[in-house]
């Protein structure tokens, strides 16, 4: 007994205690629900067996059925486009802004802080605002584009199959840019100045310095941002619900919205769960990337 107490105050027991409690909490509150989803994907589920675990086991037939649906591949393709374009857009804009504010001018840090407001806005509100701005006939975005001569007729962002997905991507990029910017700012500020000075003396120009110093030095930040971005993007749900509802004709439907739609609009819980399991596999991949990127961390 004394040994246990002393381990709690002085040894491994302290660490294990600190970690076990939250991990146990997370396991109960997130792990079990996750497993419940995995279980459901192998079962036949309807509304009346939601509260139970014993249900007819159907093996992989949910998966087989899912992939025989004509909309499955287009929706996964949309998911890929959504994730890639969102991350690329957020990253490019975020990086651009981070580089811009890295140049120290008066007011830089204050203005940079302002950009973060997009991040603290509730997703629901962001969705509502963008829904309103992207509206085809009265939307202010169409008006601005028309006035500036970029378009001649209104773009029906939410209803035109070739724009709907991009409308959500646009809103999502807006939402996520600031997060990328701040993380990249951190990465930038952690590169020692003398590296740039050395490169400059070695005759590297701005672009060469960027490619040979900045990018390589930020490899671990970039890895973390991209994999966190992947997780956040795959979680993005509010914007779809608020702007396009996955329409028209699934043109802007993505896995996470589709899974919800199947579960709660068509009450096909098993199939919804099946999609979420496929998503889990993808995110496992992202998590591996993230954890590997942290390997390059150094204790400061």
């Amino acid at each position: 007994m004394r040994k246990i107490i002393s381990s709690l105050t002085d040894g491994r027991g302290f660490d294990i205690g600190l970690v076990a409690l939250p991990l146990g909490f997370l396991f109960l509150m997130s792990g079990l629900p996750l497993l419940y989803n995995v279980l459901m994907s192998f079962q036949e589920v309807d509304m009346f067996s939601l509260g139970s675990f014993v249900r007819p086991f159907v093996g992989f037939s949910n998966y087989v059925a899912l992939f025989s649906e004509p909309e499955t591949w287009p929706i996964f393709a949309n998911t890929a486009i959504f994730v890639t374009a969102s991350i690329a857009g957020q990253f490019a804009l975020g990086f651009g802004l981070a580089l811009f504010f890295w140049v120290n001018f008066p007011g830089a840090s204050w203005l940079r802080g302002l950009f973060l407001v997009s991040w603290v806005m509730p997703g629901l509100v962001v969705g509502a605002v963008w829904n309103w701005m992207l509206s085809g006939d009265f939307g202010v975005i169409n008006f601005l584009l028309r006035e500036s001569g970029i378009i001649s007729g209104n773009i029906f962002w939410r209803s035109d199959p070739s724009y709907a997905l991009w409308a959500v991507i646009l809103a999502n990029i807006w939402l996520g840019t600031s997060f990328n910017m701040i993380l990249l700012s951190v990465g930038l500020s952690s590169i020692p100045d003398d590296l740039f000075e050395a490169a400059e003396l070695d005759g590297a120009n701005v672009w060469q310095r960027f490619y040979t110093i900045t990018l390589p030095m930020m490899r671990s930040s970039i890895g973390a941002i991209v994999s966190l971005g992947l997780i956040f993007t795959l979680q993005q749900f509010d914007l779809f619900a608020a702007i396009t509802s996955g329409g028209p004709n699934n043109a802007s439907n993505v896995a996470q919205y589709w899974a919800w739609d199947l579960s709660f609009r068509q009450y096909d819980f098993a199939r919804g769960a099946t999609i979420s399991v496929i998503m889990i596999v993808f995110v496992m991949f992202a998590s591996v990337v993230y954890v590997r990127s942290t390997k390059q961390e150094v204790r400061g």
Binding site: M29, L114, W260, V283, R299
Partner: protein, 275 residues
């Protein structure tokens, strides 16, 4: 180009960029001041000719916003408390060691936040109903949010702890402190800024949480503002000015807090919290 000219130019560009980036926010505010017909006017007016300030009072009264905001506040404070209490220690341990177990821990923590809340809600609802937690709906939501947002907190705060030199803790141990004492006396005070910033960010997320609250909290007197906003939006409405007024009243306090604290938040984020 002289230093001042360059600075002025950069500042001007920065202002333009900020104006573009913050336009959605501006549009939200400006829409609240428009009347029903002005909202749908073409071309839209970028400055309300006849600001309808009464919209705010109307929405505040008719939608019982005070109660909604109070609930949002309770839920956010609760979630932040739970997350900070549980997540800080976890982040500390994950920062202190660098081995296979830490990798496994980090991996698990990230894995657990894979699915969007919209897909987690059914199992959570089922689980909560089994243990009777649904009788305390706000507590149930606090716990659900804590589980959802803790991984993010842990990742952020872990980075903060990484920036506290291990030797300080060791010095405290040699100086005669226990692990517990060293953690509370030395490590925690030094990581305070990063923890505070992460907690504020979690608070803001929890303040805007919607999916769990919508499903778990059935009694209207316990619902937070996000649910109130949603029941206002619904499919059968085009009162965008009122909706935006609701949204404005809802987010303005967080934005205000944010803008007031932003210096601290940004410096907290840039100096180590996310390294």
């Amino acid at each position: 180009m002289s230093e001042t000219t360059r600075n002025r130019l950069m500042l001007a560009i920065a202002l333009v960029l900020a104006a573009i980036y913050l336009f959605p926010l501006y549009w939200m505010y400006i829409t609240t001041l428009k009347s029903g017909s002005a909202m749908f006017a073409t071309p839209p007016s970028f400055w309300p000719s006849d600001p309808q300030w009464s919209t705010y009072a109307y929405v505040w009264e008719s939608r019982n916003l005070a109660r909604y905001m109070g609930n949002s506040l309770i839920i956010a404070v609760g979630a932040v408390t739970v997350i900070t209490l549980l997540g800080t220690g976890c982040a500390y341990v994950l920062a202190r060691y660098r081995n296979g177990w830490v990798d496994v821990g980090l991996f698990l923590i990230l894995m657990l936040q894979v699915l969007p809340a919209s897909l987690m809600i059914t199992p959570i609802f089922v689980g909560f109903s089994q243990i009777g937690l649904l009788d305390y709906p706000r507590l149930a939501v606090i716990i659900a949010i804590a589980a959802k947002a803790m991984p993010f907190f842990v990742v952020l705060v872990r980075a903060t702890f990484m920036s506290v030199p291990m030797e300080l803790e060791e010095a405290a141990l040699v100086d005669g402190n226990s692990r517990v004492g060293a953690f509370f006396h030395i490590v925690l005070p030094l990581a305070r800024n990063g923890i505070l910033v992460s907690a504020i960010l979690i608070f803001m997320q929890a303040f805007g949480e919607f999916v769990y609250s919508k499903s778990i909290i059935q009694a209207v007197e316990y619902q937070p503002a996000s649910v109130g906003l949603n029941s206002f939006m619904g499919p059968n409405t085009n009162e965008w000015n009122n909706i935006m007024a609701f949204a404005t009243i809802y987010v303005t306090p967080i934005l205000a807090v944010f803008v007031l604290l932003q210096r601290r938040i940004v410096s907290g984020l840039t100096s180590g919290a996310l390294k």
